[in-house]
Symmetry: C2
DNA sequence: AACGATAGACAAGTGGCTTGACTAAATGGT
DNA sequence: ACCATTTAGTCAAGCCACTTGTCTATCGTT
């Protein structure tokens, strides 16, 4: 069906057209809410982390921490986790090293690779981020109740493809 | 409480510590899901729009379309909507003009300003995006049911601050 | 009429990413 | 055991969307 036909058909079916418009508005609302939720989370956590004194980091660094804190991480692993090139990850890790958040020790079984680990400062930063995240979720639970927050999580888990926690590329 | 004390306290309360860890994991899971949901939406819509032949646009352009399609938009309005400088918005709009998606006509009451409007091609692109969004949401509804999707929207609306639909800045 | 404020565009600079090129070490086939 | 290929990581240069800085034309106010 071409656009002209669609428009004329809509004119002939005003009720259906109105319903479609309402559905479209609902879709846009949900999409907007999801994007806002994501930015609210990232901004909130990042703001709290900065306020806690770790003000030389960007959100992307936090995403790298998620992988590094899990242990057994190399630069390549971080690159894959973040969805960037190895070069970008290498720069990022180098920066984190210079700023005292991670260490690069020789890999036990591969002399080419380096095993990454968080320093005490890196762990402190991670704890600050976790705390901020918990605070935010506590706020949500205070409004919705723990049950609906859990339902939110469960529902999203059913429709959102699982993947690594990577920064937005838009 | 210093970190050392906290750690020792956690060792003394293994049950509480385990519960906290579980809660922390849940928080991270929900945060991950929300970010994934946002990227899934953006990538999905952008992919569909590109596949529909509008392959010279980035997601940011789509966010601009949202404001411009609402009508009565100037470059300044778009800048505020996107959360970028007027210069950046100016470049963006110029590009959209060159590519045939928007027109810049003289503003009826302010000779400094220019009134933005979508061209037929701009509208076609917007419709393609709306269709992609509807398809995605239909997929969600097929899994969760319309009721739970509506609940998702309602719950998020209660905890997420309302704001313009702007691209992620991380 | 004259003033500061505003809309928009031109120009140059910036920063985080990319592609390209390279070294050193691991892997695999013969 | 050897050599070719692959892989981990880094150095270097380029790219591009954004920024800050500057300017003109026009608006609103007094």
């Amino acid at each position: 069906m071409r656009d002209g036909e669609m428009q004329r058909a809509a004119e002939r079916r005003p009720r259906a057209a109105a319903a479609n418009q309402a559905a479209q508005a609902d879709n846009l609302a949900l999409a907007t809410l999801l994007l806002s939720a994501a930015t609210t989370l990232v901004d909130g956590i990042h703001g709290a982390v900065m306020a806690a004194g770790f003000d030389d980091l960007r959100p992307t660094h936090g995403f790298a921490f998620v992988r590094i804190s899990r242990g057994d991480a190399t630069v390549g692993d971080v690159a894959e986790h973040l969805g960037v090139t190895k070069q970008a990850a290498s720069q990022l890790v180098d920066e984190l090293d210079r700023k005292g958040y991670v260490t690069r020790r020789p890999h036990p079984t591969d002399a080419r690779a380096r095993l990454l680990a968080l320093t005490p400062r890196g762990w402190a930063c991670t704890r600050a981020a976790d705390r901020a995240m918990a605070d935010l979720m506590e706020g949500w639970a205070a409004v919705l109740g723990g049950k609906r927050v859990a339902a939110l999580r469960a529902d999203l888990a059913r429709v959102v493809p699982v993947g690594p926690l990577r920064p937005a590329a838009w």
